[in-house]
Amino acid sequence: MAESPTDVLLKGDSGRNTRGLLRFIILATIAAAAVSSRLFSVIRFESIIHEFDPWFNFRATKYLVQNGFYSFWDWFDDRTWHPLGRVTGGTLYPGLMVTSGVIYHVLRFLTFPVDIRNICVLLAPGFSGLTALAMYFLTCEVSPSPSAGLLAAAFMGIVPGYISRSVAGSYDNEAIAIFLLVFTFFLWIKAIKNGSIMWGALAALFYGYMVSAWGGYVFITNLIPLHVFVLLCMGRYSSRVYISYTTWYALGTLASMQIPFVGFLPIRNSDHMSALGVFGLLQLVAFADFVRGFVPGKHFQRLLTTMVILVFGIAFLGLVLLSVSGVIAPWSGRFYSLWDTGYAKIHIPIIASVSEHQPTAWPAFFFDLNFLIWLFPAGVYMCFRDLKDEHVFVIIYSVLASYFAGVMVRLMLTLTPIVCVASALALSSILDTYVFASNGPNPRSKANDDTPSEGLRSARKPEVGITSYLSKAFMLTSVVIYLILFVAHCTWVTSNAYSSPSVVLASRMPDGSQHIIDDYREAYYWLRQNTEHNAKIMSWWDYGYQIGGMADRPTLVDNNTWNNTHIATVGKAMSSREEVSYPILRQHDVDYVLVVFGGLLGYSGDDINKFLWMVRIAEGIWPDEVSERDYFTARGEYRVDDGATPTMRNSLMYKMSYYNYNSLFQPGQAVDRVRGTKLPMEGPQLSTLEEAFTSENWIIRIYKVKDLDNLGRDHGNAMAFDKGHKRKRATKRKGPRVLRTE
């Protein structure tokens, strides 16, 4: 056969180079696609930090950049959780902030005047490009097919399940953690395949980085030991397993203990015990393996049985004793809710109140993964066909992550990488089968004469496969259609569901142009510019981080929900009568109270709709004073109109939401557009608070807490007096008249 120019490019040494270059270009394109598909919100809105938690991370990063690493490490923040404050440096995962801090300083070193905000906004897309690369490496370790890695990288780049947490502006721990997760797993598989200390140490290093970045590191801490354990049970002990696991565990644990927030947890917390246990078990197995070389078979059997029973008994006893004595911490509440989805709702309402802790709805799987979800089982099945160590890993990961993703919405994130791996395995196998296997006299086998090194494999096996062009074409077309649908779906989901900053709301004007509803920032900026620097703001905890970040004012509670009582105090102040709430506000130095009200605009995520959680959380601490039942009508309805219960109508939250709202309408015509009800004729009266600011669309309402009355009256009386209600004065006049001598 004459050598055509393409042959020169595709065969032999230059062929390898060409393929390498192609692969590099494809990967670069995938990374670019991954980055660019996450930029919807920047293009549509602006470079802005999204949602709630990212605002805290952003604020912490700014602190790190301004004050340096050591003062960040020792940061005591007196502007959150007033009056408690927060030892922020010791209670966060610093990986994210340090990463952006390093990037910032490198760029500054190269004298690029880049704003730290832009680094924070674009960190997640940037790392998603890296995740695609890491996914390529991981899949290449699992599959011999060269196309699987590229497919997996492409899937990972644009799959909505991952995009949901990594769009531009979503500056959260997950932004870098998923990259670290995938890359650690890649290194781990590399280590266990080669039995190499270097790869094991690298895996430990990245595991340490992961620990510093995200609380989800526990997933790795349990998955790798489980992998090793399963390998042991399958009788696949080898020095490779021993070397890689011991290296990873020893170095990784030490690395993880450097993070103050983790500290001694790896040896004291139940979540980490499996890793320690497998470490011990591995030593025993290694020892047994060693002994087997010296002892005859029969003796060895007896020795082994005794040893196993003895060690197991001692370990179990020790574990029970340590748990009972409290040296090992019991399982955390969030952990229990992983096994029993009803647990949180009963015991910890505050965990249940977070929407991302809810169990996943079935459609969410298709929404987040599209056609990958039905390729996924096929991919897992493919792993069984060729069950090497790394395939065992994929199977374990798939099973565990599937379960967790079903329990909690946010854990969809950990499922996504393995779905990409498995479906890339399945799809690449389909493609390989249909594209490469050819019909009749094989042109490739002729080419094999020239390159005997490649010919060996095909020469060994007779050519089997699909030979009909029709079925090839049919299969390829359908795969291409599925892929196109997948891309369209991902783009649509990203654009519509995951690219809203939620700080800024977008709507359409009648002429189709975009209208931006910017009430949050309007009110926060008002607070920032026109209140005292130390004015304490009370709001429901959802807005704590945003107030800290955008308004730069101290808050009572924020999204870091470790202190249930403090949050319940705020819940109680919101859900009680003014007479009860006012002392609480005074005791906590509250200057302003901020509520979110969507009634005018029909914005459903407002505080009245969240109100029942406040009541529930308050009830958890003060069951005698707050009762959820009182907020429902006799027929069990949650109403805000004329039928609302007195408790509801007298609660501070209700009053603050609807105060003065009537005056915007004709008398008796006030409508709440979220609840879709007419409001009572008479609006609520406030005596201990005064309206300080209301944003343009009434989404944010800020109230100022009145100071104590000058004359020592309570505010109710003072208000009545000011309004000219004569009754009080008349009763007073009945007393003996006193001559004023001034």
């Binding site: 690029f112 910017d518 026109n530 944003s695």
Partner: protein
Amino acid sequence: MRPFTALSALCGLFLSASSFVGADSTTSPSRVALPRDFKPPQVFKNANLVRTSNLEKGYLRETVNVVVENVDTQPQSDYYLSFPSDLYDKVGALEVRDKTAPENGRFDVEATEFSPGSDFQYFIVHLPKPLAPSSQITLGISYAVLNSLRPRPAAISQNDRQFLAHSFSAYAPSAYTTVTQKTKLKLPSTSVPDYTTTDLTSGPDPQRQGTTYTYGPYDTANVAPGTFYPINIRYEFTKPVITASLLERDLEVSHWGGNLATEERYWLRNNGSKLTDNFSRVEWTISSYQQLPSSSIRELKYPLKPGSVDPYFTDDIGNVSTSHYRPGKVPNREGSLEIRPRYPIFGSWNYSFRIGWNNDLSAFLRRAVTGADSYVLRVPFIEGPKVAEGIQYEKVVVRVVLPEGARNVQYETLEKSSSNGLPSASQIHSHISSYKTFMDTLGRTTLTLTVEGLTDEARDSQLLLTYDYSLWDSLRKPVTITAGLLTVFVAAWAVGNIDVSIKKR
């Protein structure tokens, strides 16, 4: 330690040869120290003095035309201008000219150190030619007084009308005896609820004519200089009193991009009456629907030069979506940037923001006729929003960032026959430094000008800059970056060639 910077700095130095910019050349406003209890020598007499106080804007703008006569036996050249101590620091944009020949330019004016014990503080006007004994000169003195108008009542409710109070002395403060004088007040409206009436003249005092109130003329030949006769006037001003406590204005010149980038950072405050009750959204919605006048800043219109592109309007927490830009047209239709703050700014409220835009450099820069490598840059000193109620700037910092390697920087402000709203050159603090950005090696030459006490009358003033900039300077950066990258590649290649394996070869 810092290999890249060190390297690039080295390359830069190597290439720049002799383009060393004087690291620091600073001029501060000079102030003359006067002895304690200084009294200006009584060598002049004000034959006639007419003071015009313009109150149509949110600050006081005064013009004093005075006929000065030398009563000494020697020719005299130093005329002392006196101000009450509480106003002295608020005086801005002071300018003195010969009224009969304004095109001859302004006289040199020097400020004096503030002396704490004295009731009056002085500026010294240096007449260009000493005034011969018993000859006369007519001085036209103009200045603005910032933050001197007080809102009375100090707190009003949201839809109330706002009133400002202006207090002054019927006798214009002067260091010299004044024979006759009068004061004209130009008010923004006819709604003047309170004003002082005097019996210093035979007729009614003040005389009213529309919105103009005239106190005097008084015959004050026997009144000692510095006598205080209090006059208060309170007039309606239902507009915001817009005050920028600081304006930072950056102009960045790029020869490569042919671009002049402007960024301005404002710290605004409304000095009007506070709100008695808190802000009510309901009332605000109704009153803005009816377009009632308000004492709050609702919107600022910012005219931009023709050809301005890419405007932005942001504040500390991101883009402010409530702005519009109507682009202008080259050559002469101005663009208009309509800035609407996030919330209406009522009395004592603050709002800080930044705006910026780009212009084609060719409209502002040209080669000087004197030398091939010499350039002349002509830019507005300040621009700022154009509003009827005026804006007062307490402090303005203008920073002109010239290309890397520019040297021999000289500047001047353009003078016209009438006031350009800027104080004399000696009151402008200038400073030359270097500013490193975007992979600079030497840093860009930066001229910083600081002025205190400006008003929006300085909008039309122009700043003229000349500097030298050679072809070598423009090529420095590409060459440096190329050299830097080459070094990195060579280093990588060298490191890659080192065999670190522990295998036996």
